[in-house]
Amino acid sequence: MISTKKEMVTTNVLHQLGIAALTAAAWVVGVELVFDLLALIFNHNLQSFLVSLQGIPTTLANILPVVLAIYFLVTPYSDFKWAIQNGVSRWTLWQGRLLALLLSTILIDLIDELLALTYRPMGSWSALLIHLLGLLTTVLTFQAIGNGFGLLSRKGKVIVGIGLPIVMIILLMMLMSAVDGVTLDYSNGHFIGSMGWLFNLLDSSATPWILWMVYLAVVLFLTKFFNDRMQLRRD
């Protein structure tokens, strides 16, 4: 029964995401086609029209990851609602959605790479992997933010939606000025002392990977943390 519920969540998410992706793709490609056709009618330049058509795969390749990220940003609460109506626990909901997220990210990354083949050669394996991991991290981040927003009422969403980016920008600016200071001290040599390991770490080539792993763990934890606290709201 438990695995059935999880499958149900995954299938549902994939189904809805599929509809959303197709709708978005149809709109974007449609609008682009209309503009290209209009240009053809006014300029009578068939050559230019054919070139424009070649741009469609690029547009698609750009739009699909956006749809994916936005989907996971806006749907957590509505998924929670139908899931809890059907006796699906938060734990199962989280697993099911995560599974759907992984599957859809891999699928869209694959489609993206295939579409990209129309205008550039296939990248190296490591480039492909980094692209996939990058997309995954982005979508997971949006999922975490979406789950967090799922806890908030409409008013709360507005407040946090405006306030949080401002706080982030301020923090980022403070961090940057702090880093400036650290760099100065680093040249000094004396000051490092016990902090030396940190700078060795920053120098290491494994560092980006370690940072990425830590970031992923934090984001994953946040999706679960927010997910487990979701409740039916009155608005």
Binding site: M1, T4, K5, M8, W82, I84, N86, G87, L232
Partner: protein, 290 residues
């Protein structure tokens, strides 16, 4: 089947207490009435029982297991609520399919018969239906989900008299075909009085009665006659309300009348119904007459 126990559940929204230390137990295969005036916290309580919202303190247990985040337990409880939790373009058929997927063994056959009976189309989208039709769709869903505990929050909201009649009939049919627990949360007490076996009354955010209906009615006595004699007779008994018409006094007692109490000739004993008992219990509070 296991019992569903609500243990010391308290819920506060900010500083406002909605439920204050609520405890009671629901037994398998019984029809319950959950009664309370508007805003008494019935819906909040049902939402807590189904893990839709968290209590401030207390637990809900099915058998010995906490229902919180528990797929097995949640898979045995279904709540039909006023709030519609489905995505916008959800058809009646899709609601059935979701329930079938999550709970298993959805009774499509009966559901289809009932849709015809109430004149509803399974391809209709929930959001396009009127309040009454939405209630019908949700009630049919609830009656055919394979669970041990079916909780119905205002199950006749927006239904006309004939559809209400049909609903009560279908509810009993369903109950007899597959005995399981139903909880009817409603303010239409008169209509469910004969239907429910046991009632739980919530008032002032607490459980003020949790009893077999017949046992409750057996203790509901009206005592009328000359004021002095009525007062004498009801001394020491729990009197919920006193009404005076001219010199005639009627006391509404909620207590057992012991046999050694002498009934004066001019005093008449009678009974009153659940609706009035509910009103007197929730509004009048309690005053011991002496």
């Amino acid at each position: 089947m296991e019992q569903l126990s609500i243990k010391h559940v308290t819920k506060r929204f900010g500083r406002r207490t909605v439920l204050d230390d609520i405890s009671f137990t629901l037994a398998p295969a019984k029809i319950y009435g959950l009664l309370g005036s508007n805003g008494a916290g019935k819906s909040t309580l049902l939402n807590i029982i189904t893990n839709r919202i968290f209590p401030t303190s207390g637990t809900v247990e099915l058998g010995n297991e906490n229902i919180n985040n528990n797929d097995d337990a949640l898979g045995k409880i279904f709540l039909m609520s006023e709030a519609n939790l489905y995505p916008k373009r959800t058809s009646v058929r899709r609601m059935f399919d979701l329930a079938n997927g999550a709970y298993g063994h959805f009774n499509y056959q009966t559901a289809e018969r009932q849709l015809k009976l109430f004149g509803l189309d399974e391809s209709a989208h929930l959001n396009d239906l009127s309040t009454g039709e939405q209630t019908i769709a949700k009630v049919i869903l609830a009656l055919n989900v394979a669970v041990d505990y079916v909780l119905l929050d205002e199950p006749v909201l927006g239904l006309d008299a004939s559809h209400r009649e049909l609903f009560y009939q279908e509810l009993l049919k369903s109950y007899q075909a597959q005995p399981r627990t139903f909880v009817l949360s409603t303010h239409l007490i008169e209509e469910v009085q004969q239907l429910v076996e046991h009632v739980i009354i919530i008032g002032q955010h607490k459980v003020i009665a949790d009893s077999d209906v017949q046992e409750m009615l057996d203790r509901a006595h009206s005592v009328s006659g000359p004021a002095r004699l009525v007062d004498q007779y009801t001394a020491g008994l729990r009197v919920l309300k006193v009404e005076d018409i001219g010199k005639l006094r009627t006391a509404y007692v909620y207590d057992d009348l012991d046999d050694d109490r002498i009934l004066p000739d001019q005093v008449q004993l009678g009974h009153y119904d659940l609706q009035h008992l509910f009103i007197y219990l929730t509004n009048g509070g309690e005053n011991n007459h002496d």
